[in-house]
Protein backbone atom coordinates (compact mmCIF):
# COMPACT_ATOMS: atom_id res chain seq x y z
CA UNK A 1 0.00 0.00 0.00
CA UNK A 2 1.51 3.31 -1.05
CA UNK A 3 -0.76 5.70 0.87
CA UNK A 4 0.37 5.97 4.46
CA UNK A 5 0.38 8.51 7.24
CA UNK A 6 3.78 9.99 7.97
CA UNK A 7 5.05 10.07 11.54
CA UNK A 8 3.37 13.32 12.44
CA UNK A 9 0.05 12.20 10.97
CA UNK A 10 0.38 8.85 12.77
CA UNK A 11 0.82 10.68 16.08
CA UNK A 12 -2.33 12.67 15.33
CA UNK A 13 -4.13 9.43 14.40
CA UNK A 14 -3.20 7.87 17.73
CA UNK A 15 -4.34 10.89 19.70
CA UNK A 16 -7.70 10.79 17.89
CA UNK A 17 -8.22 7.11 18.69
CA UNK A 18 -7.24 7.70 22.32
CA UNK A 19 -10.33 9.89 22.80
CA UNK A 20 -12.57 6.81 22.83
CA UNK A 21 -12.67 3.80 25.16
CA UNK A 22 -10.71 0.69 24.32
CA UNK A 23 -12.42 -1.45 21.73
CA UNK A 24 -14.50 1.53 20.51
CA UNK A 25 -11.88 2.73 18.05
CA UNK A 26 -14.47 2.83 15.26
CA UNK A 27 -15.77 5.99 16.92
CA UNK A 28 -12.67 7.76 15.63
CA UNK A 29 -13.73 7.10 12.03
CA UNK A 30 -15.05 10.59 11.21
CA UNK A 31 -12.05 12.49 12.65
CA UNK A 32 -9.65 9.99 11.05
CA UNK A 33 -11.28 10.44 7.65
CA UNK A 34 -10.78 14.21 8.04
CA UNK A 35 -7.13 13.54 8.77
CA UNK A 36 -6.84 11.21 5.77
CA UNK A 37 -8.48 13.73 3.45
CA UNK A 38 -6.19 16.51 4.67
CA UNK A 39 -3.16 14.23 4.37
CA UNK A 40 -3.85 12.72 0.94
CA UNK A 41 -4.55 15.70 -1.30
CA UNK A 42 -8.01 16.86 -0.26
CA UNK A 43 -10.01 13.81 -1.25
CA UNK A 44 -10.54 10.16 -0.36
CA UNK A 45 -9.58 7.61 -3.01
CA UNK A 46 -10.64 4.02 -2.28
CA UNK A 47 -7.08 3.26 -1.31
CA UNK A 48 -7.21 5.88 1.45
CA UNK A 49 -10.48 4.48 2.77
CA UNK A 50 -9.08 0.95 2.77
CA UNK A 51 -6.04 2.20 4.63
CA UNK A 52 -8.25 3.85 7.29
CA UNK A 53 -10.23 0.60 7.60
CA UNK A 54 -7.06 -1.37 8.23
CA UNK A 55 -5.82 1.13 10.81
CA UNK A 56 -9.11 1.06 12.72
CA UNK A 57 -9.48 -2.70 12.29
CA UNK A 58 -12.90 -2.43 10.66
CA UNK A 59 -14.27 -3.62 7.30
CA UNK A 60 -13.70 -1.34 4.29
CA UNK A 61 -17.48 -1.21 3.70
CA UNK A 62 -17.88 0.41 7.12
CA UNK A 63 -15.65 3.22 5.91
CA UNK A 64 -17.29 3.53 2.46
CA UNK A 65 -20.78 3.86 3.90
CA UNK A 66 -19.64 6.66 6.17
CA UNK A 67 -17.52 8.47 3.57
CA UNK A 68 -20.46 8.53 1.14
CA UNK A 69 -22.92 9.76 3.77
CA UNK A 70 -21.22 12.94 4.98
CA UNK A 71 -20.94 15.88 2.61
CA UNK A 72 -17.50 17.08 3.75
CA UNK A 73 -15.70 14.06 2.35
CA UNK A 74 -14.68 14.47 -1.27
CA UNK A 75 -14.86 11.26 -3.27
CA UNK A 76 -13.37 12.87 -6.36
CA UNK A 77 -10.21 14.93 -6.76
CA UNK A 78 -10.69 18.64 -6.06
CA UNK A 79 -8.73 21.79 -6.74
CA UNK A 80 -6.17 23.21 -4.38
CA UNK A 81 -8.79 25.58 -2.99
CA UNK A 82 -12.41 24.53 -2.71
CA UNK A 83 -14.97 27.35 -2.63
CA UNK A 84 -17.99 25.95 -0.81
CA UNK A 85 -20.66 28.58 -1.21
CA UNK A 86 -23.80 28.43 0.89
CA UNK A 87 -27.07 28.61 -1.05
CA UNK A 88 -29.67 27.96 1.69
CA UNK A 89 -32.52 30.39 2.57
CA UNK A 90 -30.81 32.96 4.80
CA UNK A 91 -27.84 33.28 2.43
CA UNK A 92 -30.16 33.33 -0.61
CA UNK A 93 -32.19 36.25 0.75
CA UNK A 94 -28.92 38.03 1.47
CA UNK A 95 -27.75 37.76 -2.14
CA UNK A 96 -25.82 34.49 -2.43
CA UNK A 97 -27.10 33.90 -5.96
CA UNK A 98 -25.25 36.95 -7.28
CA UNK A 99 -22.08 35.80 -5.54
CA UNK A 100 -22.36 32.29 -6.98
CA UNK A 101 -22.91 33.70 -10.48
CA UNK A 102 -19.95 36.04 -10.04
CA UNK A 103 -17.59 33.28 -8.91
CA UNK A 104 -18.69 31.13 -11.85
CA UNK A 105 -17.91 34.00 -14.20
CA UNK A 106 -14.57 34.86 -12.66
CA UNK A 107 -13.33 31.27 -12.54
CA UNK A 108 -15.14 30.18 -15.69
CA UNK A 109 -16.44 26.99 -14.11
CA UNK A 110 -19.83 25.65 -13.09
CA UNK A 111 -20.71 24.27 -9.64
CA UNK A 112 -18.98 20.93 -9.14
CA UNK A 113 -16.18 21.78 -11.58
CA UNK A 114 -12.50 22.53 -11.09
CA UNK A 115 -10.51 25.15 -13.01
CA UNK A 116 -8.19 23.79 -15.70
CA UNK A 117 -5.10 24.78 -13.73
CA UNK A 118 -6.36 22.68 -10.80
CA UNK A 119 -6.46 25.69 -8.51
CA UNK A 120 -10.14 26.15 -7.67
CA UNK A 121 -13.20 23.96 -7.25
CA UNK A 122 -16.67 25.46 -6.85
CA UNK A 123 -19.12 23.56 -4.69
CA UNK A 124 -22.60 24.68 -3.67
CA UNK A 125 -23.39 23.66 -0.13
CA UNK A 126 -26.25 23.85 2.34
CA UNK A 127 -26.31 26.00 5.48
CA UNK A 128 -22.93 26.35 7.22
CA UNK A 129 -24.16 28.27 10.27
CA UNK A 130 -23.00 31.72 9.26
CA UNK A 131 -26.43 33.14 8.38
CA UNK A 132 -25.79 36.47 10.10
CA UNK A 133 -22.65 37.02 8.07
CA UNK A 134 -24.12 36.14 4.68
CA UNK A 135 -23.35 35.66 1.85
CA UNK A 136 -20.50 33.36 2.75
CA UNK A 137 -18.34 30.45 1.71
CA UNK A 138 -16.01 28.01 3.34
CA UNK A 139 -12.50 27.62 1.97
CA UNK A 140 -10.57 24.84 3.65
CA UNK A 141 -10.88 25.31 7.38
CA UNK A 142 -11.97 28.91 7.36
CA UNK A 143 -15.12 30.89 6.60
CA UNK A 144 -15.08 33.87 4.25
CA UNK A 145 -18.07 36.00 5.18
CA UNK A 146 -19.96 39.15 4.13
CA UNK A 147 -18.98 38.39 0.53
CA UNK A 148 -19.16 41.07 -2.15
CA UNK A 149 -17.85 40.97 -5.72
CA UNK A 150 -14.81 42.97 -4.64
CA UNK A 151 -14.13 40.55 -1.79
CA UNK A 152 -14.41 37.56 -4.12
CA UNK A 153 -11.83 39.14 -6.43
CA UNK A 154 -9.52 39.80 -3.50
CA UNK A 155 -9.89 36.24 -2.22
CA UNK A 156 -9.13 34.69 -5.61
CA UNK A 157 -6.07 36.95 -5.95
CA UNK A 158 -4.98 36.06 -2.42
CA UNK A 159 -4.98 32.32 -3.12
CA UNK A 160 -3.23 32.79 -6.46
CA UNK A 161 -0.53 34.76 -4.64
CA UNK A 162 -0.22 32.03 -2.03
CA UNK A 163 0.57 29.48 -4.72
CA UNK A 164 3.06 31.78 -6.43
CA UNK A 165 4.77 32.37 -3.07
CA UNK A 166 4.94 28.62 -2.40
CA UNK A 167 6.51 27.94 -5.79
Amino acid sequence: MSLQFNNEQMTEFKSLVARYPEGKQKSALLPVLHLAQDSFGGWLPTEAMDYVASLLEIEPIEVYEVATFYSMYNLKPVGKFVFEVCQTGPCMISGSENIIAYIQKQLDIKPGETTKDGMFTLKLVECLGACGYAPMMQVGKIYREHLTKEKVDAIIAEYRMQVVALN
Binding site: K26, E65, M72, C127, G129, G132
Partner: protein, 450 residues
Protein backbone atom coordinates in the same frame (compact mmCIF):
# COMPACT_ATOMS: atom_id res chain seq x y z
CA UNK B 1 -30.27 46.74 28.32
CA UNK B 2 -31.69 43.37 29.21
CA UNK B 3 -30.17 40.86 31.60
CA UNK B 4 -27.08 39.09 30.28
CA UNK B 5 -26.16 35.79 31.89
CA UNK B 6 -24.20 34.11 29.11
CA UNK B 7 -22.73 36.86 26.96
CA UNK B 8 -22.10 39.38 29.74
CA UNK B 9 -18.33 39.00 29.40
CA UNK B 10 -18.19 38.23 25.68
CA UNK B 11 -16.52 41.56 24.92
CA UNK B 12 -13.86 41.41 27.63
CA UNK B 13 -10.52 41.37 25.80
CA UNK B 14 -8.85 37.96 26.07
CA UNK B 15 -11.90 36.26 27.64
CA UNK B 16 -11.20 33.27 25.39
CA UNK B 17 -8.15 32.46 27.51
CA UNK B 18 -8.27 30.71 30.85
CA UNK B 19 -6.50 33.45 32.81
CA UNK B 20 -8.90 36.20 31.82
CA UNK B 21 -11.95 33.97 32.18
CA UNK B 22 -10.86 32.95 35.67
CA UNK B 23 -10.03 36.54 36.66
CA UNK B 24 -13.53 37.56 35.58
CA UNK B 25 -15.09 35.09 37.99
CA UNK B 26 -14.96 32.01 35.77
CA UNK B 27 -15.00 28.52 37.30
CA UNK B 28 -16.48 29.91 40.55
CA UNK B 29 -19.73 28.07 39.81
CA UNK B 30 -17.81 24.84 39.18
CA UNK B 31 -15.97 25.30 42.45
CA UNK B 32 -19.25 25.86 44.28
CA UNK B 33 -20.91 22.84 42.66
CA UNK B 34 -18.07 20.38 43.21
CA UNK B 35 -17.04 21.52 46.67
CA UNK B 36 -20.27 22.62 48.33
CA UNK B 37 -23.13 20.86 46.60
CA UNK B 38 -24.37 17.30 46.41
CA UNK B 39 -25.19 15.79 43.04
CA UNK B 40 -28.88 15.78 43.96
CA UNK B 41 -28.70 19.47 44.89
CA UNK B 42 -27.20 20.40 41.51
CA UNK B 43 -29.93 18.51 39.64
CA UNK B 44 -32.52 20.14 41.90
CA UNK B 45 -31.24 23.65 41.07
CA UNK B 46 -31.42 22.92 37.34
CA UNK B 47 -34.96 21.61 37.79
CA UNK B 48 -35.99 24.67 39.80
CA UNK B 49 -34.52 26.97 37.16
CA UNK B 50 -37.07 25.77 34.61
CA UNK B 51 -34.27 25.69 32.01
CA UNK B 52 -35.59 24.28 28.75
CA UNK B 53 -33.44 22.65 26.09
CA UNK B 54 -32.04 25.40 23.88
CA UNK B 55 -31.47 23.24 20.81
CA UNK B 56 -35.02 23.57 19.55
CA UNK B 57 -37.34 21.15 21.27
CA UNK B 58 -37.50 23.07 24.56
CA UNK B 59 -37.66 19.99 26.77
CA UNK B 60 -36.98 20.73 30.49
CA UNK B 61 -33.27 20.04 31.02
CA UNK B 62 -33.52 19.03 34.68
CA UNK B 63 -36.14 16.44 33.85
CA UNK B 64 -33.99 15.04 31.04
CA UNK B 65 -31.14 14.64 33.51
CA UNK B 66 -33.33 12.86 36.01
CA UNK B 67 -34.16 10.14 33.45
CA UNK B 68 -30.57 8.88 33.21
CA UNK B 69 -30.26 5.24 34.25
CA UNK B 70 -27.57 4.35 36.79
CA UNK B 71 -26.92 0.64 36.49
CA UNK B 72 -24.03 -0.60 38.63
CA UNK B 73 -20.66 -0.68 36.87
CA UNK B 74 -21.82 0.86 33.56
CA UNK B 75 -20.18 4.18 32.59
CA UNK B 76 -22.49 7.07 31.78
CA UNK B 77 -21.85 9.85 29.28
CA UNK B 78 -22.75 13.46 28.73
CA UNK B 79 -22.64 14.55 25.10
CA UNK B 80 -22.75 18.20 24.13
CA UNK B 81 -24.65 18.78 20.92
CA UNK B 82 -22.68 21.40 18.99
CA UNK B 83 -23.85 20.20 15.58
CA UNK B 84 -25.71 23.49 15.06
CA UNK B 85 -27.05 23.07 11.52
CA UNK B 86 -30.57 24.46 11.48
CA UNK B 87 -30.59 27.23 8.85
CA UNK B 88 -30.75 30.59 10.59
CA UNK B 89 -28.96 29.33 13.69
CA UNK B 90 -25.41 30.37 14.60
CA UNK B 91 -25.64 31.12 18.33
CA UNK B 92 -23.69 28.09 19.61
CA UNK B 93 -20.83 28.91 17.29
CA UNK B 94 -20.67 32.42 18.81
CA UNK B 95 -20.72 31.09 22.34
CA UNK B 96 -18.01 28.50 21.69
CA UNK B 97 -15.87 30.85 19.65
CA UNK B 98 -15.82 33.68 22.17
CA UNK B 99 -16.53 31.99 25.52
CA UNK B 100 -15.10 28.46 25.23
CA UNK B 101 -14.41 28.24 28.96
CA UNK B 102 -18.04 29.03 29.80
CA UNK B 103 -19.01 25.88 27.93
CA UNK B 104 -16.21 23.84 29.53
CA UNK B 105 -17.33 25.02 32.98
CA UNK B 106 -20.94 24.09 32.20
CA UNK B 107 -19.75 20.72 30.94
CA UNK B 108 -17.76 20.10 34.09
CA UNK B 109 -20.69 20.85 36.43
CA UNK B 110 -23.09 18.83 34.29
CA UNK B 111 -20.68 15.90 33.94
CA UNK B 112 -20.29 15.87 37.71
CA UNK B 113 -24.06 15.87 38.20
CA UNK B 114 -24.56 13.06 35.71
CA UNK B 115 -21.48 11.03 36.61
CA UNK B 116 -19.84 11.29 33.19
CA UNK B 117 -16.09 10.71 33.28
CA UNK B 118 -15.75 11.00 29.50
CA UNK B 119 -17.78 13.80 28.02
CA UNK B 120 -17.92 14.53 24.29
CA UNK B 121 -18.54 17.70 22.36
CA UNK B 122 -19.96 16.73 18.97
CA UNK B 123 -19.23 19.78 16.85
CA UNK B 124 -20.25 20.17 13.21
CA UNK B 125 -17.27 19.46 10.99
CA UNK B 126 -17.33 22.82 9.23
CA UNK B 127 -16.64 24.65 12.51
CA UNK B 128 -13.06 23.41 12.31
CA UNK B 129 -11.48 26.52 13.81
CA UNK B 130 -14.01 26.50 16.66
CA UNK B 131 -13.02 22.90 17.41
CA UNK B 132 -9.42 24.12 17.72
CA UNK B 133 -10.49 26.90 20.10
CA UNK B 134 -12.30 24.31 22.26
CA UNK B 135 -9.33 21.95 22.21
CA UNK B 136 -7.05 24.77 23.35
CA UNK B 137 -9.49 25.62 26.15
CA UNK B 138 -9.59 21.97 27.24
CA UNK B 139 -5.79 21.90 27.46
CA UNK B 140 -5.84 25.07 29.59
CA UNK B 141 -8.61 23.76 31.85
CA UNK B 142 -6.75 20.48 32.30
CA UNK B 143 -3.51 22.28 33.14
CA UNK B 144 -5.32 24.27 35.81
CA UNK B 145 -6.93 21.26 37.41
CA UNK B 146 -10.52 21.71 36.18
CA UNK B 147 -10.41 18.60 34.03
CA UNK B 148 -8.51 15.38 34.47
CA UNK B 149 -8.12 13.18 37.53
CA UNK B 150 -9.42 13.92 41.03
CA UNK B 151 -10.77 17.38 40.20
CA UNK B 152 -10.51 19.78 43.19
CA UNK B 153 -9.72 16.79 45.38
CA UNK B 154 -13.25 15.45 45.05
CA UNK B 155 -12.17 12.13 43.58
CA UNK B 156 -14.16 12.94 40.46
CA UNK B 157 -12.38 12.36 37.11
CA UNK B 158 -13.57 14.05 33.95
CA UNK B 159 -12.15 14.48 30.49
CA UNK B 160 -13.82 16.42 27.70
CA UNK B 161 -13.17 15.30 24.11
CA UNK B 162 -13.97 17.17 20.92
CA UNK B 163 -15.44 15.10 18.09
CA UNK B 164 -15.79 16.74 14.68
CA UNK B 165 -18.72 15.74 12.49
CA UNK B 166 -18.46 15.84 8.72
CA UNK B 167 -21.43 17.71 7.29
CA UNK B 168 -24.83 16.22 8.08
CA UNK B 169 -27.75 18.22 9.49
CA UNK B 170 -29.35 15.01 10.70
CA UNK B 171 -26.62 14.55 13.30
CA UNK B 172 -28.24 17.32 15.34
CA UNK B 173 -30.92 14.74 16.16
CA UNK B 174 -29.65 13.12 19.33
CA UNK B 175 -29.77 9.47 18.31
CA UNK B 176 -28.25 10.23 14.89
CA UNK B 177 -25.56 12.17 16.73
CA UNK B 178 -24.85 9.13 18.88
CA UNK B 179 -24.63 6.86 15.81
CA UNK B 180 -22.22 9.34 14.24
CA UNK B 181 -20.16 9.47 17.41
CA UNK B 182 -19.88 5.70 17.12
CA UNK B 183 -18.38 6.12 13.65
CA UNK B 184 -21.48 5.31 11.63
CA UNK B 185 -23.86 7.02 9.22
CA UNK B 186 -26.14 9.47 10.99
CA UNK B 187 -29.28 7.37 10.87
CA UNK B 188 -31.60 8.16 13.79
CA UNK B 189 -32.51 5.26 16.06
CA UNK B 190 -35.99 4.13 16.88
CA UNK B 191 -36.97 5.24 20.40
CA UNK B 192 -37.39 3.63 22.90
CA UNK B 193 -34.88 2.82 24.18
CA UNK B 194 -34.09 6.46 24.87
CA UNK B 195 -30.45 7.57 25.15
CA UNK B 196 -30.91 8.04 28.90
CA UNK B 197 -31.19 4.25 29.09
CA UNK B 198 -29.14 3.09 26.09
CA UNK B 199 -27.23 5.81 24.30
CA UNK B 200 -23.58 6.08 23.32
CA UNK B 201 -22.11 2.55 23.12
CA UNK B 202 -25.45 1.41 24.61
CA UNK B 203 -24.56 3.21 27.84
CA UNK B 204 -26.84 5.72 29.62
CA UNK B 205 -26.31 9.07 27.89
CA UNK B 206 -27.61 12.61 28.11
CA UNK B 207 -27.35 14.82 25.03
CA UNK B 208 -27.74 18.58 25.65
CA UNK B 209 -27.28 21.61 23.44
CA UNK B 210 -24.28 23.97 23.92
CA UNK B 211 -26.40 26.87 25.18
CA UNK B 212 -28.28 24.62 27.61
CA UNK B 213 -25.03 23.41 29.17
CA UNK B 214 -23.56 26.92 29.32
CA UNK B 215 -26.72 28.11 31.12
CA UNK B 216 -25.98 25.65 33.93
CA UNK B 217 -23.17 28.01 35.02
CA UNK B 218 -25.36 31.03 35.88
CA UNK B 219 -27.99 28.69 37.34
CA UNK B 220 -25.48 27.29 39.83
CA UNK B 221 -24.05 30.75 40.47
CA UNK B 222 -27.37 32.45 41.24
CA UNK B 223 -29.54 29.49 42.21
CA UNK B 224 -32.38 27.95 40.24
CA UNK B 225 -35.09 30.05 41.85
CA UNK B 226 -33.40 33.35 41.01
CA UNK B 227 -32.80 32.17 37.45
CA UNK B 228 -36.46 31.27 37.10
CA UNK B 229 -37.47 34.82 38.08
CA UNK B 230 -35.95 36.12 34.84
CA UNK B 231 -38.25 35.80 31.88
CA UNK B 232 -41.92 34.96 31.97
CA UNK B 233 -44.06 31.88 32.60
CA UNK B 234 -42.31 28.71 31.45
CA UNK B 235 -39.81 30.78 29.44
CA UNK B 236 -37.27 31.23 32.19
CA UNK B 237 -33.80 32.71 32.05
CA UNK B 238 -32.24 34.18 28.93
CA UNK B 239 -32.16 32.91 25.36
CA UNK B 240 -29.62 33.46 22.63
CA UNK B 241 -31.19 34.59 19.38
CA UNK B 242 -29.23 34.54 16.14
CA UNK B 243 -30.83 37.17 13.94
CA UNK B 244 -30.24 37.20 10.20
CA UNK B 245 -31.78 38.04 6.85
CA UNK B 246 -32.79 41.53 5.78
CA UNK B 247 -32.05 43.46 8.97
CA UNK B 248 -29.60 46.24 9.77
CA UNK B 249 -27.76 44.42 12.54
CA UNK B 250 -27.54 40.66 12.05
CA UNK B 251 -25.85 38.89 14.93
CA UNK B 252 -26.23 36.95 18.14
CA UNK B 253 -28.25 38.57 20.92
CA UNK B 254 -29.03 37.46 24.44
CA UNK B 255 -32.56 38.38 25.47
CA UNK B 256 -34.63 37.88 28.55
CA UNK B 257 -37.83 36.55 27.12
CA UNK B 258 -40.04 39.53 27.96
CA UNK B 259 -39.21 41.66 24.92
CA UNK B 260 -41.82 42.01 22.17
CA UNK B 261 -41.04 40.75 18.67
CA UNK B 262 -41.55 44.27 17.35
CA UNK B 263 -39.04 45.77 19.77
CA UNK B 264 -36.56 43.02 19.00
CA UNK B 265 -36.74 43.74 15.28
CA UNK B 266 -36.83 47.53 15.40
CA UNK B 267 -34.81 48.58 18.45
CA UNK B 268 -31.21 49.66 17.89
CA UNK B 269 -30.05 47.41 20.69
CA UNK B 270 -31.03 44.35 18.65
CA UNK B 271 -31.84 43.97 14.94
CA UNK B 272 -31.96 47.72 14.28
CA UNK B 273 -34.88 47.55 11.85
CA UNK B 274 -35.26 46.28 8.31
CA UNK B 275 -32.27 46.94 6.06
CA UNK B 276 -32.58 49.72 3.51
CA UNK B 277 -35.67 51.12 5.20
CA UNK B 278 -37.78 48.45 3.55
CA UNK B 279 -40.91 46.91 4.97
CA UNK B 280 -41.12 43.66 6.89
CA UNK B 281 -42.86 40.90 4.94
CA UNK B 282 -42.30 37.68 6.85
CA UNK B 283 -40.23 35.98 9.49
CA UNK B 284 -39.13 32.49 10.40
CA UNK B 285 -38.64 33.03 14.12
CA UNK B 286 -36.98 29.83 15.35
CA UNK B 287 -34.82 28.23 12.68
CA UNK B 288 -35.83 27.14 9.18
CA UNK B 289 -38.10 24.28 10.24
CA UNK B 290 -40.57 26.34 12.25
CA UNK B 291 -43.58 27.88 10.50
CA UNK B 292 -43.00 31.12 8.62
CA UNK B 293 -45.32 33.95 9.64
CA UNK B 294 -46.45 36.99 7.63
CA UNK B 295 -45.62 40.36 9.24
CA UNK B 296 -49.10 40.86 10.65
CA UNK B 297 -49.21 37.53 12.50
CA UNK B 298 -45.63 37.92 13.64
CA UNK B 299 -46.03 41.21 15.48
CA UNK B 300 -49.48 40.48 16.87
CA UNK B 301 -51.26 37.23 17.65
CA UNK B 302 -54.51 36.38 15.90
CA UNK B 303 -56.30 37.81 18.93
CA UNK B 304 -54.60 41.13 18.28
CA UNK B 305 -52.30 40.91 21.29
CA UNK B 306 -48.63 41.86 21.22
CA UNK B 307 -46.40 38.89 20.44
CA UNK B 308 -43.31 38.38 22.60
CA UNK B 309 -40.01 36.60 22.09
CA UNK B 310 -40.71 33.57 24.26
CA UNK B 311 -41.79 29.95 23.95
CA UNK B 312 -45.47 30.53 24.80
CA UNK B 313 -46.11 33.72 22.89
CA UNK B 314 -44.36 32.64 19.68
CA UNK B 315 -46.46 29.48 19.62
CA UNK B 316 -49.70 31.29 20.50
CA UNK B 317 -52.35 30.23 18.02
CA UNK B 318 -50.70 26.88 17.30
CA UNK B 319 -49.58 26.26 13.75
CA UNK B 320 -52.75 27.88 12.40
CA UNK B 321 -51.62 31.40 13.33
CA UNK B 322 -48.46 30.95 15.39
CA UNK B 323 -44.97 29.47 15.14
CA UNK B 324 -42.26 28.31 17.55
CA UNK B 325 -39.26 29.55 19.51
CA UNK B 326 -37.27 26.59 18.14
CA UNK B 327 -33.51 27.09 18.14
CA UNK B 328 -33.66 30.88 18.19
CA UNK B 329 -32.66 31.21 14.54
CA UNK B 330 -34.54 34.39 13.64
CA UNK B 331 -34.79 34.95 9.86
CA UNK B 332 -36.29 38.20 8.56
CA UNK B 333 -37.59 38.58 5.01
CA UNK B 334 -38.23 42.05 3.59
CA UNK B 335 -40.91 43.12 1.11
CA UNK B 336 -38.79 42.17 -1.92
CA UNK B 337 -38.34 38.52 -0.94
CA UNK B 338 -40.15 35.75 -2.77
CA UNK B 339 -41.80 33.22 -0.51
CA UNK B 340 -41.86 30.52 -3.21
CA UNK B 341 -38.12 30.82 -3.75
CA UNK B 342 -37.35 30.91 -0.05
CA UNK B 343 -39.45 27.79 0.50
CA UNK B 344 -37.69 26.12 -2.42
CA UNK B 345 -34.24 26.67 -0.90
CA UNK B 346 -35.45 25.18 2.37
CA UNK B 347 -37.06 22.20 0.60
CA UNK B 348 -33.77 21.62 -1.22
CA UNK B 349 -31.95 21.76 2.10
CA UNK B 350 -34.17 19.09 3.66
CA UNK B 351 -33.96 16.86 0.57
CA UNK B 352 -30.18 17.11 0.76
CA UNK B 353 -30.13 16.38 4.50
CA UNK B 354 -32.66 13.54 4.67
CA UNK B 355 -30.77 10.43 5.81
CA UNK B 356 -32.91 8.28 3.54
CA UNK B 357 -34.03 5.84 6.16
CA UNK B 358 -37.79 6.51 6.04
CA UNK B 359 -39.61 6.55 2.70
CA UNK B 360 -41.98 9.45 3.45
CA UNK B 361 -39.03 11.76 4.13
CA UNK B 362 -36.60 10.38 1.54
CA UNK B 363 -39.15 10.48 -1.29
CA UNK B 364 -41.34 13.31 -0.05
CA UNK B 365 -38.56 15.87 0.37
CA UNK B 366 -37.46 15.21 -3.22
CA UNK B 367 -40.97 15.63 -4.55
CA UNK B 368 -41.51 18.86 -2.63
CA UNK B 369 -38.30 20.31 -4.03
CA UNK B 370 -39.20 19.33 -7.61
CA UNK B 371 -42.70 20.80 -7.44
CA UNK B 372 -41.47 24.02 -5.85
CA UNK B 373 -38.76 24.26 -8.50
CA UNK B 374 -41.42 23.87 -11.17
CA UNK B 375 -43.54 26.68 -9.69
CA UNK B 376 -40.49 28.90 -9.24
CA UNK B 377 -39.46 28.40 -12.87
CA UNK B 378 -42.90 29.49 -14.09
CA UNK B 379 -44.12 26.01 -15.00
CA UNK B 380 -46.51 25.46 -12.12
CA UNK B 381 -50.06 24.19 -12.46
CA UNK B 382 -52.93 25.00 -10.17
CA UNK B 383 -53.07 21.43 -8.87
CA UNK B 384 -49.45 21.71 -7.65
CA UNK B 385 -50.35 23.63 -4.50
CA UNK B 386 -52.72 20.94 -3.30
CA UNK B 387 -50.22 18.28 -4.27
CA UNK B 388 -47.55 19.98 -2.16
CA UNK B 389 -49.97 20.19 0.73
CA UNK B 390 -50.79 16.52 0.38
CA UNK B 391 -47.12 15.46 0.32
CA UNK B 392 -46.14 17.46 3.40
CA UNK B 393 -49.08 15.97 5.30
CA UNK B 394 -47.93 12.49 4.40
CA UNK B 395 -44.42 13.18 5.69
CA UNK B 396 -45.38 14.81 8.99
CA UNK B 397 -45.57 12.32 11.84
CA UNK B 398 -44.65 9.37 9.65
CA UNK B 399 -40.91 9.21 10.16
CA UNK B 400 -38.54 7.87 12.82
CA UNK B 401 -37.09 11.27 13.64
CA UNK B 402 -38.35 14.86 13.57
CA UNK B 403 -36.52 15.74 10.32
CA UNK B 404 -39.68 14.69 8.49
CA UNK B 405 -41.73 17.21 10.43
CA UNK B 406 -39.00 19.80 10.04
CA UNK B 407 -39.17 19.38 6.26
CA UNK B 408 -42.97 19.40 6.14
CA UNK B 409 -43.65 22.44 8.34
CA UNK B 410 -41.95 25.16 6.24
CA UNK B 411 -43.87 24.06 3.14
CA UNK B 412 -47.14 23.80 5.02
CA UNK B 413 -46.78 27.21 6.64
CA UNK B 414 -45.77 28.90 3.37
CA UNK B 415 -48.93 27.58 1.68
CA UNK B 416 -51.09 28.30 4.72
CA UNK B 417 -50.14 31.97 4.90
CA UNK B 418 -48.94 32.81 1.39
CA UNK B 419 -51.20 30.72 -0.83
CA UNK B 420 -52.04 33.71 -3.02
CA UNK B 421 -48.35 34.24 -3.74
CA UNK B 422 -48.09 30.64 -4.95
CA UNK B 423 -51.25 31.15 -7.03
CA UNK B 424 -49.82 34.35 -8.49
CA UNK B 425 -46.72 32.44 -9.65
CA UNK B 426 -48.86 29.81 -11.30
CA UNK B 427 -51.29 32.26 -12.92
CA UNK B 428 -48.58 34.70 -14.05
CA UNK B 429 -45.93 32.35 -15.35
CA UNK B 430 -44.01 34.92 -17.40
CA UNK B 431 -44.43 37.88 -15.08
CA UNK B 432 -43.23 35.79 -12.13
CA UNK B 433 -39.89 35.29 -13.90
CA UNK B 434 -39.15 38.99 -14.08
CA UNK B 435 -40.97 40.47 -11.12
CA UNK B 436 -42.00 39.78 -7.62
CA UNK B 437 -45.31 39.43 -5.79
CA UNK B 438 -44.10 41.93 -3.19
CA UNK B 439 -45.58 42.81 0.15
CA UNK B 440 -49.27 42.82 -0.85
CA UNK B 441 -51.50 42.49 2.22
CA UNK B 442 -49.08 40.56 4.42
CA UNK B 443 -48.45 43.46 6.79
CA UNK B 444 -52.07 44.62 6.97
CA UNK B 445 -53.61 44.72 10.40
CA UNK B 446 -55.45 41.50 11.10
CA UNK B 447 -59.19 41.76 11.52
CA UNK B 448 -59.97 40.99 15.14
CA UNK B 449 -63.60 40.07 15.75
CA UNK B 450 -65.13 42.07 18.60
Amino acid sequence: MGVKLLLEKANVPGIRTYDVYRREGGYAAAEKALKEMSIEAIVEEVKKSGLRGRGGAGFPAGMKWSFIAKPEGVPRHLVCNADESEPGTFKDRYLMEFLPHLLIEGLLISSYALGSNDTYIYIRGEYAWVATILEDAIVEATKNGWLGKNILGTGFDCMVHVHRGAGAYICGEETALIESLEGKRGNPRIKPPFPAIQGLWMRPTVVNNVETLAAVVPIIKMGGEEYAKIGVGRSTGTKLISACGNINKPGVYEIDMTISVEDFIYSDEYCGGIAGGKKLKACIPGGSSVPILPANLLLKTAKGETRYMNYESLSDGGFATGSMMGSGGFIILDEDQCIVKNTLTLARFYRHESCGQCSPCREGTGWMEKILQKIELGKGESSDIDLLWDIQRKIEGNTICPLGDAAAWPVAAAIRHFRDEFEWHINNRELSQTSNFGLQHYADPIHVPA
